[in-house]
Amino acid sequence: MNEPERYELFVLPEGVEKLSLEKDTKVPNAATFTIQCEDHTLGNLLRMNLLENDKVLFAGYKIPHPLENYLLLRIQTVPESTPSAALQQALSDLVQSVAVLEETFKEQMSGIKSREGTYL
């Protein structure tokens, strides 16, 4: 009855930006990104990638309400960097490491196929 529409999980509401940034007014070099239609799948991964950057002082995410499909990602960096640069770095690291993972997995599976000849 009051179940949220299923398409809301991936259809962006009208006039809403997929990714937006709000600068923190009280803390220097801090900002909060709002990412629409995302959940822990991406949030936790980005948080980890951000924390591995030594320019990042703080990185955390939250999903304010389980029925609203957006996440807040807060980043604070050292003065030499900015939150958006840190996130950009995290994303490009992610792209590269996933590509590596993909290759590794494919290689391993092709080995299996040729060795046993029966699988798939």
């Binding site: 940034l21 958006s84 992610l94």
Partner: protein, 371 residues
Amino acid sequence: MSGKDVATKMKTRVILGEDRILHGSSFDAPTSFASVGVENGLNVEKFTEEVKVEVNDVSEDGNDLVFELSGVDAPLANTLRRILLSEVPTMAIEIAEFRDNTSVIQDEVFAHRLGLVPIKADPAFFETHVSGNEHTPENTLIFDLNVKCFRDINNEVVNSKVFASALVWTPFGEQAERFAENPPQVVHPDILLAKLAPGQRIDVRCYVTKGVGKVHAKWSPVATASYRLLPEPVIVAQPKSEEASRIAQTCPTKVFDIEDSGELVVARPRQCTMCRECIRPPPDAQHSAHGVYTPAVELRRVKTHFIFSVESTGILPPDRLVRDAIGVLKDRALFYAELFDQKDFEEHMAAASHSDGDDDASDDETKPMLE
């Protein structure tokens, strides 16, 4: 043990004690262990060096895959698992049009049962159907189910059970040629869908569309996708021979072996279920002066080594599912990386800091909205 060894152990191992778990959390920040000189943090080169995939086991029907993923952190493994469960697309019955249903099972209940039947069709050949739009051969498959139960001349009841095999594919548009080689069909023809009495009939047309598990579990391509950390039972102090054989016998999964020399060795660590039987003090345990019992075995798990098990529902082979999942993640990362390039957040940041002290400017901006 030096500080460095302790830090490395904290970082890479979870330790299971008799009554507690140590170092269960992860230490992501690069400075976590800087004071003792242990490098933390990750970069792509290090990731490339460390990441490893090893296939352990494939079941006979090819639907279950067990592989080990090591050298990655928990969030990446968890992301893969979550994507496998809820974001790898498959095909499932989305709309059921009832033309006739005189059976005892209600339309909506039967429709729900239909939705959960796995349909063997490669989702890569289809586009996503947006609800409300027209069904086209590019985004929809049609299955018909038309079963009537009756008595034959020998008074035998025919078709009293409706199985999934009654769902027959009806080619839509030029689909007959497109899928001539492997026609779409149900994965398991022997799923019982309904029971009928003589004279009853079910006639349904089903529209199969592409979707993902987070919208409805019927689109989830896996029965389960899970991982566990690699168990690492370690013998820290070689016990005396009676104690050794006691430990070897007490382990329910037979992890330990006794060498000819009477030494206790960890022979099959992967079989360990972390039941902790081997670290429980025996009734006649030798406690130290402080009343502490020190077991001969230390139970650890490797924090960066994941034993994945993926069980496909049979729609797609499990290796394909994992590849699809990695693909979904890659597309997502690329999408955001590109989106980021289009936006000028640096400027936004600079502009925001500029207008901080400039109250008039922000006032100007808000005024029109207030009026």
